[in-house]
Symmetry: C2
Subunit: 133 residues, 2 copies
DNA sequence: GAAGGGCTGAAAGTGATTTTCACTTTCACA
DNA sequence: TGTGAAAGTGAAAATCACTTTCAGCCCTTC
């Protein structure tokens, strides 16, 4: 389905979506970075539109939002398979990590505590390869 | 060691520490809640002192900081054994969950990616027992 | 072609956190 | 016990991310 038709998406939202897509999985953009990029392509676009767009796209599941401790802005990335994130406490880089908590474990925890788990967020912190030494 | 001597801690920081301790593991306080409590015991204490104290205590590893998506203030809890957190998307409650990613897994991931993991944060989201139905 | 809903940008508002600054307290050591 | 340096302090202002509001525009639908 790649860049399949999405006829109902207002063009500004489409633009935002493209920007986040273009950044690729593994890059993580803050709203203001997105705004800057969007503004280049569409001068006159407003801040609020970017926020609204991000919210909408998130609702639609097209992008996902990510809160990383130590970064006070939310960051966005294209939706993709579940994965964890790693943040280097030295250089601040954020890396994707192919890891998800096993479904069996989730089920067990949910059962134990009596709640329903809809999503999980896993973030590691430490030093990346470049800063590790 | 319980409330062991910590001769080097300025008394305001000590106070903050006590407040967070007193809240107990599993309770999660925001800086402004902490400020309010501190202010009762020590009228005249300033906001900045609370923030500074929290920062210091965190550096010392005496308390831990927790960012929960959907809550825009940081929250603090006494340091304790590693555990995950669960946030109910309906009522906003935050629960502790006794879960940590197995050390073996961490080691493997670290090896794979070439970084050193110092800490992990795991947050689940969904509906708590009360809201699940 | 008119009605109505969704979308828009600008600007003001909100609330958490950080910074600044001048003053006070604490501490190590002579 | 005196002394200077370093650390801690509170108030207020600044910053920063984000949200809300509002009046106008555009595009679809009838």
């Amino acid at each position: 389905m790649a860049s399949s038709v999405r006829p109902k998406l207002p063009k500004n939202y489409q633009l935002i979506y493209e920007i986040v897509q273009a950044s690729g999985i593994g890059r993580h953009l803050t709203p203001s970075e997105i705004f800057t990029k969007a503004h280049k392509r569409q001068p006159g676009i407003g801040f609020s539109t970017v926020y609204r767009g991000l919210e909408r796209l998130r609702e639609l599941g097209l992008i996902s939002e990510l809160y990383v401790p130590g970064v006070d802005a939310a960051t966005y990335e294209p939706s993709g398979p579940w994965h964890a994130h790693f943040r280097c406490s030295a250089c601040g880089a954020i890396e994707d990590v192919a890891y998800a908590i096993p479904p069996r474990t989730l089920k067990m925890l949910a059962l134990q505590h009596g709640f329903k788990i809809a999503s999980e967020r896993v973030t590691f912190e430490g030093r990346c390869a470049a800063c590790a030494f």
